[in-house]
Symmetry: C2
Subunit: 234 residues, 2 copies
Protein backbone atom coordinates (compact mmCIF):
# COMPACT_ATOMS: atom_id res chain seq x y z
CA UNK A 1 0.00 0.00 0.00
CA UNK A 2 3.01 2.31 0.31
CA UNK A 3 2.95 2.90 -3.43
CA UNK A 4 -0.56 4.45 -3.36
CA UNK A 5 -0.37 8.07 -4.57
CA UNK A 6 -4.01 8.93 -5.24
CA UNK A 7 -7.37 8.13 -3.70
CA UNK A 8 -10.50 8.15 -5.84
CA UNK A 9 -13.90 8.10 -4.22
CA UNK A 10 -17.36 6.83 -4.77
CA UNK A 11 -19.68 9.69 -3.79
CA UNK A 12 -23.38 8.69 -3.48
CA UNK A 13 -23.63 6.84 -0.19
CA UNK A 14 -19.89 6.82 0.52
CA UNK A 15 -19.44 10.58 0.96
CA UNK A 16 -22.97 11.97 0.92
CA UNK A 17 -26.28 10.95 2.45
CA UNK A 18 -28.33 10.89 -0.74
CA UNK A 19 -31.38 9.35 0.96
CA UNK A 20 -31.96 11.93 3.67
CA UNK A 21 -31.03 14.80 1.37
CA UNK A 22 -33.29 13.71 -1.49
CA UNK A 23 -36.21 13.18 0.91
CA UNK A 24 -35.71 16.72 2.27
CA UNK A 25 -35.36 18.29 -1.18
CA UNK A 26 -38.32 16.39 -2.63
CA UNK A 27 -40.54 17.51 0.22
CA UNK A 28 -39.36 21.12 -0.23
CA UNK A 29 -40.17 20.99 -3.94
CA UNK A 30 -43.48 19.13 -3.87
CA UNK A 31 -45.17 19.90 -0.54
CA UNK A 32 -45.93 23.53 -1.61
CA UNK A 33 -47.96 22.00 -4.46
CA UNK A 34 -50.19 20.22 -1.96
CA UNK A 35 -48.44 16.87 -2.40
CA UNK A 36 -47.89 14.68 0.65
CA UNK A 37 -46.20 11.30 0.54
CA UNK A 38 -43.57 9.17 2.30
CA UNK A 39 -40.57 11.28 1.27
CA UNK A 40 -37.96 8.68 2.22
CA UNK A 41 -39.84 6.07 0.20
CA UNK A 42 -39.91 8.54 -2.71
CA UNK A 43 -36.12 8.93 -2.42
CA UNK A 44 -35.72 5.14 -2.42
CA UNK A 45 -37.98 4.77 -5.45
CA UNK A 46 -36.01 7.42 -7.37
CA UNK A 47 -32.71 5.77 -6.44
CA UNK A 48 -34.04 2.34 -7.44
CA UNK A 49 -34.14 3.49 -11.06
CA UNK A 50 -30.45 4.47 -10.94
CA UNK A 51 -28.80 1.14 -11.81
CA UNK A 52 -31.27 0.14 -14.57
CA UNK A 53 -30.83 3.55 -16.26
CA UNK A 54 -27.02 3.32 -16.25
CA UNK A 55 -27.24 -0.25 -17.51
CA UNK A 56 -28.84 1.10 -20.69
CA UNK A 57 -25.65 3.08 -21.31
CA UNK A 58 -23.25 0.35 -20.18
CA UNK A 59 -24.73 -2.22 -22.52
CA UNK A 60 -24.76 0.26 -25.42
CA UNK A 61 -28.53 0.52 -25.82
CA UNK A 62 -28.36 4.33 -25.48
CA UNK A 63 -25.31 6.61 -25.96
CA UNK A 64 -23.52 8.03 -22.95
CA UNK A 65 -25.29 10.99 -21.35
CA UNK A 66 -24.76 12.80 -18.05
CA UNK A 67 -26.28 11.31 -14.92
CA UNK A 68 -28.42 14.47 -14.58
CA UNK A 69 -30.29 13.36 -17.69
CA UNK A 70 -30.78 9.82 -16.36
CA UNK A 71 -31.97 11.22 -13.02
CA UNK A 72 -34.55 13.30 -14.88
CA UNK A 73 -35.79 10.32 -16.86
CA UNK A 74 -36.04 8.35 -13.61
CA UNK A 75 -37.91 11.18 -11.88
CA UNK A 76 -40.52 11.16 -14.63
CA UNK A 77 -40.94 7.40 -14.18
CA UNK A 78 -41.33 7.67 -10.40
CA UNK A 79 -43.77 10.60 -10.58
CA UNK A 80 -45.95 8.74 -13.07
CA UNK A 81 -45.91 5.59 -10.96
CA UNK A 82 -46.95 7.65 -7.92
CA UNK A 83 -49.87 9.18 -9.81
CA UNK A 84 -48.18 12.60 -9.77
CA UNK A 85 -48.36 13.38 -13.48
CA UNK A 86 -49.65 16.85 -12.63
CA UNK A 87 -46.20 18.02 -11.45
CA UNK A 88 -45.21 20.53 -14.11
CA UNK A 89 -41.99 20.88 -16.10
CA UNK A 90 -40.42 23.76 -14.12
CA UNK A 91 -40.90 21.88 -10.84
CA UNK A 92 -39.43 18.71 -12.30
CA UNK A 93 -36.42 20.58 -13.64
CA UNK A 94 -35.73 22.25 -10.29
CA UNK A 95 -36.32 19.05 -8.33
CA UNK A 96 -33.90 17.13 -10.53
CA UNK A 97 -31.12 19.42 -9.31
CA UNK A 98 -31.75 18.11 -5.78
CA UNK A 99 -28.88 15.69 -6.52
CA UNK A 100 -26.59 18.76 -6.62
CA UNK A 101 -27.60 19.62 -3.02
CA UNK A 102 -26.74 16.46 -1.08
CA UNK A 103 -25.15 16.72 2.35
CA UNK A 104 -21.92 14.94 3.22
CA UNK A 105 -21.61 12.56 6.14
CA UNK A 106 -20.06 14.43 9.11
CA UNK A 107 -16.56 12.92 8.82
CA UNK A 108 -16.01 13.65 5.14
CA UNK A 109 -14.62 17.20 4.88
CA UNK A 110 -12.21 16.73 7.78
CA UNK A 111 -11.05 13.35 6.51
CA UNK A 112 -10.46 14.59 2.96
CA UNK A 113 -8.50 17.63 4.16
CA UNK A 114 -6.17 15.32 6.12
CA UNK A 115 -5.83 12.91 3.20
CA UNK A 116 -5.03 15.75 0.79
CA UNK A 117 -1.70 16.39 2.53
CA UNK A 118 -0.48 12.98 1.37
CA UNK A 119 -2.56 11.93 -1.65
CA UNK A 120 -4.08 13.30 -4.81
CA UNK A 121 -7.86 13.20 -4.41
CA UNK A 122 -10.72 12.98 -6.88
CA UNK A 123 -14.24 11.66 -7.04
CA UNK A 124 -14.62 8.60 -9.28
CA UNK A 125 -18.39 8.77 -9.32
CA UNK A 126 -21.11 8.14 -11.83
CA UNK A 127 -22.29 11.71 -11.18
CA UNK A 128 -21.50 14.32 -13.82
CA UNK A 129 -18.87 17.02 -13.43
CA UNK A 130 -21.26 19.89 -12.63
CA UNK A 131 -23.00 17.77 -9.99
CA UNK A 132 -19.64 16.94 -8.37
CA UNK A 133 -18.64 20.63 -8.47
CA UNK A 134 -21.84 21.63 -6.68
CA UNK A 135 -21.41 18.93 -4.02
CA UNK A 136 -17.78 20.00 -3.52
CA UNK A 137 -18.74 23.66 -3.01
CA UNK A 138 -21.61 22.76 -0.67
CA UNK A 139 -19.58 20.36 1.48
CA UNK A 140 -16.02 21.74 1.26
CA UNK A 141 -14.57 18.74 -0.59
CA UNK A 142 -11.00 19.67 -1.61
CA UNK A 143 -10.68 17.78 -4.91
CA UNK A 144 -7.62 17.99 -7.12
CA UNK A 145 -9.74 17.13 -10.15
CA UNK A 146 -13.17 15.76 -11.01
CA UNK A 147 -12.72 12.30 -12.52
CA UNK A 148 -15.30 9.56 -13.09
CA UNK A 149 -18.03 8.70 -15.57
CA UNK A 150 -18.16 11.95 -17.56
CA UNK A 151 -14.41 11.80 -18.30
CA UNK A 152 -14.57 8.08 -19.19
CA UNK A 153 -17.91 8.44 -21.01
CA UNK A 154 -19.22 5.22 -19.46
CA UNK A 155 -20.56 4.16 -16.08
CA UNK A 156 -19.10 2.17 -13.18
CA UNK A 157 -18.58 -0.68 -12.63
CA UNK A 158 -17.17 -0.77 -16.20
CA UNK A 159 -13.36 -1.01 -15.83
CA UNK A 160 -12.73 1.96 -18.15
CA UNK A 161 -14.03 4.35 -15.48
CA UNK A 162 -11.47 3.25 -12.86
CA UNK A 163 -8.65 2.99 -15.41
CA UNK A 164 -9.37 6.44 -16.86
CA UNK A 165 -9.22 7.94 -13.36
CA UNK A 166 -5.81 6.38 -12.60
CA UNK A 167 -4.48 7.41 -16.01
CA UNK A 168 -5.64 11.02 -15.57
CA UNK A 169 -3.30 11.21 -12.56
CA UNK A 170 -0.49 9.52 -14.59
CA UNK A 171 -0.66 6.58 -12.20
CA UNK A 172 -0.88 2.83 -12.61
CA UNK A 173 -4.01 1.18 -11.19
CA UNK A 174 -1.88 -0.23 -8.33
CA UNK A 175 -0.86 3.32 -7.37
CA UNK A 176 -4.53 4.33 -7.12
CA UNK A 177 -6.95 3.39 -4.34
CA UNK A 178 -10.72 3.28 -4.80
CA UNK A 179 -12.67 4.27 -1.67
CA UNK A 180 -16.30 3.16 -1.48
CA UNK A 181 -19.06 1.90 0.80
CA UNK A 182 -20.23 -0.70 -1.72
CA UNK A 183 -18.89 -4.20 -2.36
CA UNK A 184 -19.72 -4.21 -6.08
CA UNK A 185 -17.80 -0.96 -6.70
CA UNK A 186 -14.74 -2.20 -4.80
CA UNK A 187 -14.77 -5.64 -6.42
CA UNK A 188 -14.82 -4.02 -9.88
CA UNK A 189 -12.04 -1.58 -8.95
CA UNK A 190 -9.89 -4.44 -7.60
CA UNK A 191 -10.53 -6.44 -10.76
CA UNK A 192 -9.20 -3.41 -12.72
CA UNK A 193 -6.04 -3.50 -10.58
CA UNK A 194 -6.75 -0.69 -8.10
CA UNK A 195 -6.18 -0.84 -4.36
CA UNK A 196 -9.40 -0.67 -2.35
CA UNK A 197 -10.68 0.88 0.87
CA UNK A 198 -14.10 0.06 2.31
CA UNK A 199 -15.93 2.71 4.36
CA UNK A 200 -18.87 1.40 6.38
CA UNK A 201 -22.07 3.45 5.94
CA UNK A 202 -24.46 1.29 7.95
CA UNK A 203 -27.42 3.65 7.55
CA UNK A 204 -27.16 4.50 3.86
CA UNK A 205 -30.53 2.99 2.93
CA UNK A 206 -32.16 3.77 6.28
CA UNK A 207 -31.39 2.83 9.89
CA UNK A 208 -29.39 -0.40 9.88
CA UNK A 209 -29.71 -0.66 6.10
CA UNK A 210 -26.24 -0.27 4.69
CA UNK A 211 -23.10 -2.32 4.26
CA UNK A 212 -21.16 -2.75 7.51
CA UNK A 213 -18.53 -5.19 6.20
CA UNK A 214 -17.07 -5.45 2.71
CA UNK A 215 -18.28 -8.53 0.88
CA UNK A 216 -15.00 -8.80 -1.02
CA UNK A 217 -11.31 -8.67 -0.11
CA UNK A 218 -10.15 -5.08 0.41
CA UNK A 219 -6.84 -3.50 1.41
CA UNK A 220 -8.30 -1.46 4.25
CA UNK A 221 -11.66 -1.23 5.98
CA UNK A 222 -12.75 1.77 8.10
CA UNK A 223 -15.76 3.36 9.74
CA UNK A 224 -15.01 6.91 8.48
CA UNK A 225 -12.64 8.97 6.37
CA UNK A 226 -10.96 10.14 9.55
CA UNK A 227 -10.15 6.52 10.38
CA UNK A 228 -8.95 6.07 6.80
CA UNK A 229 -6.60 9.05 7.14
CA UNK A 230 -5.12 7.48 10.27
CA UNK A 231 -4.86 4.04 8.64
CA UNK A 232 -2.98 5.57 5.70
CA UNK A 233 -0.83 7.72 8.01
CA UNK A 234 -2.10 10.96 6.49
Amino acid sequence: MHQVKALVFDVFGTLVDWRGSIARETRAALAPHGIDTDWLAFADAWRNEYEPAMEEVRCGRIPFCKLDRLHRRNLDIVLERAGLDRVEEATRHALNLAWHRLDAWPDVAQGLHRLKAKFRLAPCSNGNISLMVDLARRNDLPWDAILGAELARDYKPKPVVYLTAADAFDLTPAETMMVAAHTADLAAAAEAGLRTAFIARPNEYGPGKGETVAGTTVDVSCASLIELASALEA
Copy 2:
Protein backbone atom coordinates in the same frame (compact mmCIF):
# COMPACT_ATOMS: atom_id res chain seq x y z
CA MET B 1 -21.84 39.99 -19.30
CA HIS B 2 -24.16 39.63 -16.32
CA GLN B 3 -25.12 36.14 -17.46
CA VAL B 4 -21.53 34.83 -17.13
CA LYS B 5 -21.43 32.04 -14.51
CA ALA B 6 -18.06 30.42 -15.14
CA LEU B 7 -14.59 31.54 -16.14
CA VAL B 8 -12.27 29.15 -17.96
CA PHE B 9 -8.60 29.96 -18.30
CA ASP B 10 -5.73 29.52 -20.64
CA VAL B 11 -2.76 28.53 -18.46
CA PHE B 12 0.63 28.63 -20.26
CA GLY B 13 1.51 32.30 -20.49
CA THR B 14 -1.79 33.58 -19.09
CA LEU B 15 -1.44 32.18 -15.56
CA VAL B 16 2.10 30.84 -15.43
CA ASP B 17 5.50 32.05 -16.62
CA TRP B 18 6.48 28.99 -18.65
CA ARG B 19 9.58 30.67 -20.11
CA GLY B 20 11.38 31.63 -16.91
CA SER B 21 10.32 28.40 -15.19
CA ILE B 22 11.41 26.10 -18.02
CA ALA B 23 14.77 27.90 -18.29
CA ARG B 24 15.32 27.40 -14.55
CA GLU B 25 14.24 23.75 -14.59
CA THR B 26 16.28 22.92 -17.70
CA ARG B 27 19.41 24.41 -16.18
CA ALA B 28 18.78 22.45 -12.93
CA ALA B 29 18.41 19.21 -14.90
CA LEU B 30 21.24 19.60 -17.41
CA ALA B 31 23.96 21.77 -15.81
CA PRO B 32 24.96 18.93 -13.41
CA HIS B 33 25.76 16.89 -16.54
CA GLY B 34 28.29 19.52 -17.64
CA ILE B 35 25.95 21.10 -20.16
CA ASP B 36 25.94 24.86 -20.55
CA THR B 37 23.74 26.75 -22.98
CA ASP B 38 21.42 29.76 -23.27
CA TRP B 39 18.65 28.38 -21.03
CA LEU B 40 16.03 30.94 -22.08
CA ALA B 41 16.75 30.17 -25.72
CA PHE B 42 16.38 26.45 -24.90
CA ALA B 43 12.97 27.19 -23.33
CA ASP B 44 11.96 29.13 -26.45
CA ALA B 45 13.12 26.32 -28.74
CA TRP B 46 11.14 23.73 -26.73
CA ARG B 47 8.04 25.92 -26.78
CA ASN B 48 8.41 26.53 -30.52
CA GLU B 49 7.62 22.86 -31.13
CA TYR B 50 4.35 23.13 -29.17
CA GLU B 51 1.97 24.31 -31.89
CA PRO B 52 3.31 22.02 -34.67
CA ALA B 53 2.99 18.98 -32.37
CA MET B 54 -0.63 19.77 -31.45
CA GLU B 55 -1.43 20.42 -35.09
CA GLU B 56 -0.61 16.75 -35.79
CA VAL B 57 -3.46 15.82 -33.44
CA ARG B 58 -5.85 18.56 -34.56
CA CYS B 59 -5.59 17.56 -38.21
CA GLY B 60 -5.99 13.86 -37.35
CA ARG B 61 -2.52 12.73 -38.40
CA ILE B 62 -1.93 11.17 -34.96
CA PRO B 63 -4.53 10.18 -32.34
CA PHE B 64 -5.07 12.37 -29.29
CA CYS B 65 -2.44 11.96 -26.61
CA LYS B 66 -1.63 13.95 -23.48
CA LEU B 67 0.45 17.11 -23.84
CA ASP B 68 3.10 15.45 -21.64
CA ARG B 69 3.75 13.03 -24.47
CA LEU B 70 4.00 15.82 -27.05
CA HIS B 71 6.34 17.76 -24.76
CA ARG B 72 8.58 14.68 -24.54
CA ARG B 73 8.66 14.27 -28.31
CA ASN B 74 9.51 17.95 -28.63
CA LEU B 75 12.27 17.70 -26.04
CA ASP B 76 13.92 14.91 -28.02
CA ILE B 77 13.78 17.08 -31.15
CA VAL B 78 15.29 20.08 -29.38
CA LEU B 79 18.06 18.07 -27.69
CA GLU B 80 19.05 16.48 -30.98
CA ARG B 81 19.10 19.83 -32.74
CA ALA B 82 21.33 21.23 -29.96
CA GLY B 83 23.79 18.35 -30.32
CA LEU B 84 22.79 16.98 -26.90
CA ASP B 85 22.00 13.40 -27.91
CA ARG B 86 24.06 12.17 -24.96
CA VAL B 87 21.36 13.23 -22.43
CA GLU B 88 20.09 9.89 -21.17
CA GLU B 89 16.54 8.60 -20.78
CA ALA B 90 16.15 9.14 -17.03
CA THR B 91 17.23 12.78 -17.34
CA ARG B 92 14.87 13.37 -20.25
CA HIS B 93 11.97 11.82 -18.35
CA ALA B 94 12.61 13.98 -15.28
CA LEU B 95 13.19 17.13 -17.33
CA ASN B 96 9.92 16.61 -19.22
CA LEU B 97 8.07 17.01 -15.92
CA ALA B 98 9.46 20.57 -15.71
CA TRP B 99 6.13 21.64 -17.22
CA HIS B 100 4.48 20.44 -13.99
CA ARG B 101 6.62 22.89 -11.99
CA LEU B 102 5.84 26.25 -13.58
CA ASP B 103 5.42 29.34 -11.41
CA ALA B 104 2.31 31.52 -11.61
CA TRP B 105 2.47 35.24 -12.28
CA PRO B 106 2.21 37.11 -8.95
CA ASP B 107 -1.44 38.23 -9.32
CA VAL B 108 -2.89 34.82 -10.14
CA ALA B 109 -3.65 33.09 -6.82
CA GLN B 110 -5.16 36.21 -5.25
CA GLY B 111 -7.21 37.00 -8.33
CA LEU B 112 -8.59 33.48 -8.64
CA HIS B 113 -9.55 33.34 -4.97
CA ARG B 114 -11.56 36.54 -5.41
CA LEU B 115 -13.17 35.32 -8.62
CA LYS B 116 -14.14 32.00 -7.01
CA ALA B 117 -16.63 33.74 -4.74
CA LYS B 118 -18.72 34.66 -7.77
CA PHE B 119 -17.84 32.24 -10.59
CA ARG B 120 -17.09 28.60 -11.24
CA LEU B 121 -13.45 28.35 -12.26
CA ALA B 122 -11.53 25.84 -14.36
CA PRO B 123 -8.51 25.75 -16.59
CA CYS B 124 -9.33 25.30 -20.28
CA SER B 125 -5.77 24.51 -21.26
CA ASN B 126 -4.06 22.19 -23.68
CA GLY B 127 -2.13 20.79 -20.71
CA ASN B 128 -3.20 17.38 -19.41
CA ILE B 129 -5.09 16.85 -16.16
CA SER B 130 -2.10 15.70 -14.06
CA LEU B 131 -0.07 18.68 -15.24
CA MET B 132 -2.90 21.05 -14.26
CA VAL B 133 -3.22 19.34 -10.86
CA ASP B 134 0.49 19.80 -10.16
CA LEU B 135 0.39 23.48 -11.18
CA ALA B 136 -2.67 24.01 -8.99
CA ARG B 137 -1.00 22.48 -5.93
CA ARG B 138 2.24 24.39 -6.54
CA ASN B 139 0.56 27.78 -7.07
CA ASP B 140 -2.63 27.53 -4.94
CA LEU B 141 -5.05 27.69 -7.86
CA PRO B 142 -8.56 27.00 -6.47
CA TRP B 143 -10.13 25.17 -9.41
CA ASP B 144 -13.63 23.72 -9.29
CA ALA B 145 -12.69 21.19 -11.96
CA ILE B 146 -9.95 20.53 -14.51
CA LEU B 147 -11.42 21.05 -17.97
CA GLY B 148 -9.65 21.45 -21.32
CA ALA B 149 -7.95 19.26 -23.93
CA GLU B 150 -7.87 15.94 -22.06
CA LEU B 151 -11.62 16.06 -21.41
CA ALA B 152 -12.38 17.11 -25.00
CA ARG B 153 -9.70 14.79 -26.47
CA ASP B 154 -8.59 17.47 -28.93
CA TYR B 155 -6.52 20.64 -28.75
CA LYS B 156 -7.40 24.34 -28.76
CA PRO B 157 -8.22 26.30 -30.80
CA LYS B 158 -10.60 23.56 -32.01
CA PRO B 159 -14.11 24.65 -30.92
CA VAL B 160 -14.87 21.33 -29.22
CA VAL B 161 -12.44 22.19 -26.43
CA TYR B 162 -14.27 25.41 -25.47
CA LEU B 163 -17.71 23.86 -25.96
CA THR B 164 -16.87 20.81 -23.86
CA ALA B 165 -15.72 23.07 -21.03
CA ALA B 166 -18.97 25.08 -21.02
CA ASP B 167 -21.05 21.91 -21.22
CA ALA B 168 -19.20 20.29 -18.31
CA PHE B 169 -20.48 23.18 -16.16
CA ASP B 170 -24.01 22.78 -17.64
CA LEU B 171 -23.66 26.23 -19.17
CA THR B 172 -24.22 27.69 -22.60
CA PRO B 173 -21.16 29.17 -24.32
CA ALA B 174 -22.57 32.67 -23.65
CA GLU B 175 -22.62 31.91 -19.90
CA THR B 176 -18.92 31.00 -20.03
CA MET B 177 -15.99 33.40 -20.32
CA MET B 178 -12.60 32.40 -21.73
CA VAL B 179 -9.68 34.24 -20.10
CA ALA B 180 -6.40 34.31 -22.03
CA ALA B 181 -3.35 36.38 -22.92
CA HIS B 182 -3.45 35.33 -26.58
CA THR B 183 -5.50 36.73 -29.43
CA ALA B 184 -5.82 33.41 -31.29
CA ASP B 185 -7.25 31.63 -28.25
CA LEU B 186 -9.78 34.40 -27.58
CA ALA B 187 -10.81 34.71 -31.22
CA ALA B 188 -11.51 30.96 -31.35
CA ALA B 189 -13.43 31.04 -28.06
CA ALA B 190 -15.55 33.97 -29.27
CA GLU B 191 -16.22 32.15 -32.54
CA ALA B 192 -17.52 29.23 -30.42
CA GLY B 193 -19.88 31.64 -28.63
CA LEU B 194 -18.01 32.25 -25.38
CA ARG B 195 -17.45 35.61 -23.71
CA THR B 196 -13.82 36.69 -23.64
CA ALA B 197 -11.39 38.43 -21.30
CA PHE B 198 -7.90 39.45 -22.36
CA ILE B 199 -5.11 39.58 -19.77
CA ALA B 200 -1.97 41.42 -20.87
CA ARG B 201 1.25 39.47 -20.25
CA PRO B 202 3.72 41.83 -21.93
CA ASN B 203 6.81 39.81 -20.97
CA GLU B 204 5.62 36.27 -21.73
CA TYR B 205 8.25 35.62 -24.42
CA GLY B 206 10.89 37.82 -22.81
CA PRO B 207 11.11 41.52 -21.83
CA GLY B 208 8.65 43.44 -24.00
CA LYS B 209 7.78 40.31 -25.94
CA GLY B 210 4.16 39.52 -25.18
CA GLU B 211 0.71 40.71 -26.19
CA THR B 212 -0.21 44.03 -24.61
CA VAL B 213 -3.48 44.58 -26.47
CA ALA B 214 -5.95 41.98 -27.77
CA GLY B 215 -5.89 41.74 -31.55
CA THR B 216 -9.58 40.83 -31.63
CA THR B 217 -12.76 42.19 -30.06
CA VAL B 218 -13.06 41.07 -26.42
CA ASP B 219 -15.60 41.73 -23.68
CA VAL B 220 -13.05 42.88 -21.14
CA SER B 221 -9.33 43.64 -21.16
CA CYS B 222 -7.17 43.78 -18.02
CA ALA B 223 -3.57 43.86 -16.83
CA SER B 224 -4.02 41.19 -14.14
CA LEU B 225 -6.53 38.77 -12.60
CA ILE B 226 -6.96 41.19 -9.72
CA GLU B 227 -8.12 43.83 -12.21
CA LEU B 228 -10.37 41.21 -13.80
CA ALA B 229 -11.95 40.44 -10.42
CA SER B 230 -12.70 44.14 -9.97
CA ALA B 231 -14.03 44.50 -13.53
CA LEU B 232 -16.40 41.56 -12.95
CA GLU B 233 -17.37 42.84 -9.49
CA ALA B 234 -16.05 39.74 -7.75
